[in-house]
Subunit: 307 residues, 2 copies
Amino acid sequence: MTSAPFCAAVDWGTTNFRLWLLDAQGSVLGERSSGEGMRACLPDRFGPVLEAHLSALQAPAELPVIVAGMAGARGGWREAAYLDTPAPLDALHAHAVQVEGFGRDVRILPGVCQREGGREDVMRGEETQLAGAWAESRASGLFCLPGTHSKWARVEEGRLLSFTTYMTGELFALLSQHSTLHDMVAAGKGDETSPAFRDAVAEMLDGAGLTGKLFSIRAASLLSGDAAPDAKARLSGLLIGAEVAAMRKDLDAGAEVTLIAGGSTARAYETAFSNAGLACRTLDGQDLVRRGLFAAARALWPERKAA
Amino acid sequence: MTSAPFCAAVDWGTTNFRLWLLDAQGSVLGERSSGEGMRACLPDRFGPVLEAHLSALQAPAELPVIVAGMAGARGGWREAAYLDTPAPLDALHAHAVQVEGFGRDVRILPGVCQREGGREDVMRGEETQLAGAWAESRASGLFCLPGTHSKWARVEEGRLLSFTTYMTGELFALLSQHSTLHDMVAAGKGDETSPAFRDAVAEMLDGAGLTGKLFSIRAASLLSGDAAPDAKARLSGLLIGAEVAAMRKDLDAGAEVTLIAGGSTARAYETAFSNAGLACRTLDGQDLVRRGLFAAARALWPERKAA
């Protein structure tokens, strides 16, 4: 027999929906995922989408649901106002917004914002991954969460002190799809293990200016006349190298970064950190957002935990 | 009475066509311009487009034509192979390609390339502007030619020693049109005279990483809830600031830059140079390309000059 579900935990991003059915120990009883992210959901679609996934897992009608991510953004399901930095990662639940007028108890966790002029920044979802890391290991220090909008976050004693967003993934997509580099990058087959990637990272760590390096990808292809097999790896290396070089300026040599990523993204950043002389430990992001959601659920519904 | 035409000079770029009818002193007898750039011309259209503009100016049938720009690129009218750096700006004409099988004497000037690994670069058209500056004033030093692909060129004693392309204008267009910053920048009304532009330039000159600053434009708008009136000026300031900051690393304090630009672009770079503590003198680009074309024509057709 399987144990009874304690709650459903949902990571509701811009483009993806992911749901876990969890027991009182946080173990996964069932799982669903789809492309029904915030972008695919009109304001009145969030409820039906959630219920469809819950019923597919035969979740009981009274099962509460904890949600993190863009579902709490303006224009999402319900706006969960940002917490200001420094933000207590073990108290996100206290600022969750309940979806009124809905048939079951659904709480949406807040994002976190930073208001310092010139350094304004926002996150929704990463704070829950960081809360998961805190709940799991009480880890402090510098965290790197790569993605369309990579986040670098400073955590001390469970408080998110400050963070910076790098548009690394979005710039890679823009330059790959819409720029004069398109043909070269589309033909590229290199990856984060190639010398071209490492060389590009090294150039940025040496202090090169990104916007003055990008065109060399096109020029190298025009001059060699070939399809620039390294172009994709070089573009990736320049962008990730620019991100790591900018962060390293404020770090001591040999400082450790906790990388929250998986697959080829994790390998690319691990390579760049190694080039930069930074120590690195890698944690799995999907696992951490689930743990952060579970930690918030336990705090919100202690009586269910006891049950 | 007007003096007889000596030659026609054509600046044939990617998106624009510009032609001047010049006398033996280089004075302008007539002028044409259109959107019939290289992109708008199939290989067999270059000749008819040129002849249509010449006949509109009643140019004699034997009038020779000197051409600079993308018409000499692979896929243009005739490919004029790149000259390698260091390139003699007063000898571009010696490497011009004649369009064979065409009813009149048409010569296309070469572009210039740099083959150093990791610093590969190419230009077509800017070398003719630099040749015009050399012909006019024998100026040496560092030249900045802003644009979709900004060029920074080092000229000593009439030789183009080295150059770097910054994708500043293309990145501004990509981020304005296709990125998550689109809505904010579209609503922006600031310009290069606004404090937002100066502040953004200053942040980049202080060593900030570009990819970590771009998202602050979006975050500031989300947090303030307004339409981010400064977004456009801030984006422009971050990109131009990144370009100037990267170049300044290799310059002495107070070094002079010769800026080849006009209008608001010139004002924006002049502002950034002033923030960066760089001296600046500004020359008009269209005027210089015409002078560079005329200098090449005089060297190619001395007997006509005598006539």
